[in-house]
Amino acid sequence: MILKKSVLVIPCSGIGKPFGSIARDATFCVCDELRSGKADTLCLFLLVMSDEEARHKVASSKCITIDGCPLACSRNNIERSGGKVAAEFRVMDLLRENRDLKPRTVTFLDEDGEKLSKMLAEKIAAKVDELWEESD
């Protein structure tokens, strides 16, 4: 039996805006609950600081980046470290689809932040399934 590699879901985890917290929360939701065993995450900073284990993981896995804002730190840092991004999500895009939601808090998600995180997690989970099916 061949064991499939987990799909890596890597959030930006930006600490200055609610979007970074939403990206992070959605990632944990996917990796720990919705697709536990199929999806994994890693510390973006470890990768950028050239940690060997992190580099190897990224090089040998399909990566989904989750960025809070258009600055796209997760995607940019993954690409800069030699990783290939199989899919990307941005919290801001989800905000555009849900104009009535206004997440304001960073430390802990408010009600709108939680709603967005849940929606985002479901989208990421669906993409994990897709990439999982594609992998040999």
């Binding site: 929360d25 944990f28 890693l42 510390c43 973006l44 840092n77 800069r80 960073v106 430390t107």
Partner: protein, 135 residues
């Protein structure tokens, strides 16, 4: 009257475990509640992506790094791309000193985890005060 600079606080946000979340929450408590007008957040992903303002601030003003574990990503990043932080905290080592277990869940914190975060935030706040006194 000499104007004291703000202190930049840089947290790792290590997704691997609860220590990263603890670092992040403690940092945010300092920034939002305990020392809101004396501190500035340095967003590490932005910093690593080369954002000029994050780099500019870290080069000019004192910083405190808050690292979840002994890998010290925040410290290494700040040192590599600007200058060594003026102070730092290794959360894993501190928890060992305090003889407390790290948070079990990286997403949801219980009452004990929050007590730990507040205690850590108080420690960081003292470090901020010390750094500002030195100026």
């Amino acid at each position: 009257m000499r104007i004291k600079p703000k202190v930049g606080v840089v947290s790792c946000s290590g997704e691997c475990c609860g220590l990263g979340t603890l670092s992040r929450i403690a940092t945010r408590l300092v920034l939002e509640e305990l020392r809101s007008s004396q501190t500035v957040t340095i967003c590490l992903p932005l910093f690593l992506a080369g954002e000029a303002e994050e780099h500019g601030f870290a080069k000019k003003y004192p910083t405190i790094e808050v690292d979840g574990c002994g890998k010290l990503c925040a410290k290494k990043a700040i040192t590599k791309y600007s200058k060594e932080p003026a102070a730092g905290v290794n959360v894993e080592a501190i928890l060992k000193e305090w003889n407390v277990e790290p948070p079990k869940n990286r997403r949801i914190f219980d009452e004990n985890d929050m007590k730990m975060a507040r205690r850590l935030a108080e420690l960081l706040a003292i470090k901020v005060d010390e750094m500002r006194k030195a100026y």
